[in-house]
Amino acid sequence: MSTSTPAASRRLIKELTDFNKKRPSHLISLHPVDESDLTHWTATLRGPQDTPYEGGEWEIDIKIPDNYPNAPPLMVFVTPVCHPNVHPKTGEICLDLLRGTAWTPAYTLSTTLESVSQLLGHPEPDSPLNVDIAAVLRHGDRVAYDALVRVWAVMYAGKKGTTA
């Protein structure tokens, strides 16, 4: 078993059952990497609709801290994603929810991932981790931005190449 406390483990198991009971639309999968270790999860995020990410699937690695749910889980994109608030190399996500400033235990892994999913649709170029794509967006070149995102999605996230 992991180092997490019994309370945290119970909650994580409950989160897993809840997820399996009612699968939210933004997630394809969410489960521990290894059944015996509840501190390491993996999730597959569905590209939100009506965004250039639509059609792609992104894998996210989730590490549960010891004092979860008092501290936020650590989430990084494993699949490369082109987004101003996601580090192009490490996959680090710039989201206040994941930084402890806005986190509360009332969030679950599923709702947190929902926030990540919405981050894809609503980039914040003012606090970028990927300065290049943020610069494109800041200059208002939405067409170039969408195209870049789509290229990355096709290259890495299994999005079907379109003729559009």
Binding site: A7, R10, R11, K14, E15, D18, N67, P69, N70, A71, N85, H87, C94, L95, D96, L97, R99, G100, T101, A102, W103, T104, P105, A106, Y107, T108, T111, E114, S115, Q118, L119, G121, H122, E124, P125, D126, S127, P128, L129, V131, R138, G140
Partner: protein, 497 residues
């Protein structure tokens, strides 16, 4: 300059000799052969009474010479007892001379020095010797008072009585006689006592060192002054913030400036009750109208998804107003079916729950550890559990700084907005780029109005480093990036970043 040593030995002056001793350009004075006289007095036994602008690191040297007093004068008799006549031939000669005399009573000292200034010998310096002190008292000693050295053209030194006697004897034996002596070269001539006084740079402090010392002192003073001023400023700012927090003008936690925790003492005041499900017939799900689901508002930028409205059961205020009559004591009916921290369901009539001011309920074990270690805000609705005006025990400079920055940013944004409504947009768009974090275009992507606190929290919680990458929250950032000496520096100079 101060003397460090006095050396004395015999030299032999080549002819022509007395009378009218003249320097012989062809002949050169050499040390006397087979002389058993030599004297070497060093620093603590040599006292400088008057420097007379002798250049540093130089030597004051000359032949020993007793100043001519009228020979029947009382002082002369005191200085050179016995029927001595001064006939060293140095008067009106070209040879450098060092005057010498014993240090007597003030009246005689004056007479001797006066005689020295009027003496026709080429005096380069004067050497006193004490008759009763060994070693000589220091130059600041009262012993040397009574004589005005300042106006003298030549330096004045003093040595102890033993050396003085030695010197006097040598003078009387050779330096004042017309006998001949052989020098080391084998030439004959008149023996004379030669004295060489070496001076140094050390006392008092030479100019360069003094200058450096002054510069250093000024620097230290400036540093101390700046430090004190900054400490004072920071202290006043802390006090001001404390006052504003106490007055409820600033809500540190709602603004995201600082995470507060609830002390155990206050936590114990939050009521514990027995949970009773509100109505068995009603499904224990949240009423849809009571709280907006943030996730259902895609128009809001993402960061505002953060509480105050996580997708969890809202406070059942409606049911509270009409509690069922048959409840056990200290219990209430709640529509919130589970603890949103551990996600476990409550058991009606069994589970003890802690009810926060906002009527949200949790297992005491779950909420207590959260409130004591993480935050004072309700995990569900983010309402503070601390009383209004609660001042946290420690208000750090970092907190003060964050609050100030936030306030300034707010004011700027307000100015921007008022100016905007006045229809000066084009002008401000340029200004906005100048002062804001981003262009006005990006500012527009954020919502206006109500969610200001949350928006600003985002802005302050994220720090951009030089690479444009974003680091963790400010606390973590400071702890990691600031080295030990940087922290020390900010302890001395609070306010510098």
């Amino acid at each position: 300059m101060a003397a460090t040593s006095v050396r004395s030995f015999l030299v032999v002056i080549p002819d022509p000799l007395i009378p009218g001793l003249k320097a012989n350009p062809g002949g050169k004075a050499h040390s006397a052969k087979d002389s058993d006289f030599s004297l070497h007095v060093t620093d603590p036994n040599v006292v400088t009474l008057h420097t007379a602008d002798v250049p540093r690191n130089s030597e004051v040297k000359g032949l020993l010479h007793f100043p001519i007093l009228s020979e029947d004068s009382e002082c002369f008799l005191k200085a050179l007892p016995g029927n001595t006549t001064i006939s060293d031939g140095l008067n009106a000669s070209d040879f450098s001379a060092i005057g010498f005399a014993p240090w007597k009573d003030p009246a005689c000292n004056k007479v001797i020095l006066k005689a020295a200034t009027q003496d026709t010998a080429n005096l380069k310096g004067f050497l006193f010797y004490t008759e009763d002190h060994e070693p000589p008292p220091s130059s600041s000693n009262n012993y040397w008072s009574g004589v005005e050295f300042k106006k003298l053209q030549f330096p004045v030194y003093a040595i102890g009585g033993l050396e003085g006697q030695h010197l006097k004897n040598a003078y009387l034996k050779w330096g004042n006689s017309d006998q001949t002596a052989e020098d080391v070269e084998g030439n004959f001539g008149s023996p004379r006592v030669f004295v060489k006084i070496a001076t140094t740079t050390s006392v008092p402090l030479p100019g360069l060192w003094l200058f450096l010392l002054i510069v250093l002192g000024v620097l230290i003073f400036l540093a101390v002054f700046t430090s004190a001023t900054m400490h004072l400023i920071q202290w006043r700012r802390r006090r001001s913030l404390r006052r504003r927090v106490a007055n409820g003008e600033v809500d540190l936690e709602a603004l995201g400036i600082k995470r507060l925790v609830v002390p155990r003492k206050m936590l114990d005041k939050v009521p514990l009750r027995t949970y009773v499900a509100s109505e068995p017939s009603r499904p224990p799900s949240p009423s849809p109208a009571s709280a907006p689901q943030p996730s259902s508002e895609p128009s809001q930028p993402l960061r505002t998804l953060a509480p105050p409205s996580p997708p969890l059961p809202p406070a059942p205020t409606a049911t509270l107003s009409v509690p069922p009559p048959r409840l056990p004591p200290n219990s209430r009916a709640y529509s919130q079916p589970s603890c949103s921290i551990c996600l476990d369901d409550f058991t009606s009539h069994v589970t003890t729950v802690r009810e926060l001011d906002c009527n949200h309920i949790f297992h005491p074990a779950c909420i207590d550890s959260f409130l004591e270690t993480q935050s004072s805000l309700c995990p569900v609705c983010k309402r503070s559990t601390l009383p209004k005006g609660y001042v946290p025990p420690e208000l750090t400079n970092a907190t003060v700084r964050r609050e100030r920055r936030l306030r300034h940013r707010r004011r700027r944004e307000e100015q921007r907005r008022t100016a905007e409504t006045e229809g000066r947009r084009g002008w401000l768009e340029r200004l906005g780029i100048g002062i804001g974090r981003g262009g006005s275009e990006s500012l527009e992507m954020r919502p206006r109005g109500g969610v200001q606190g949350r928006r600003l929290r985002r802005a302050t919680g994220v720090v951009r480093n030089d690479n444009g990458a974003v680091s963790q929250g400010l606390d973590g950032y400071e702890a990691r990036v600031r080295g030990r000496w940087q922290r020390g520096f900010s302890a001395v100079f609070p306010g510098f970043r």
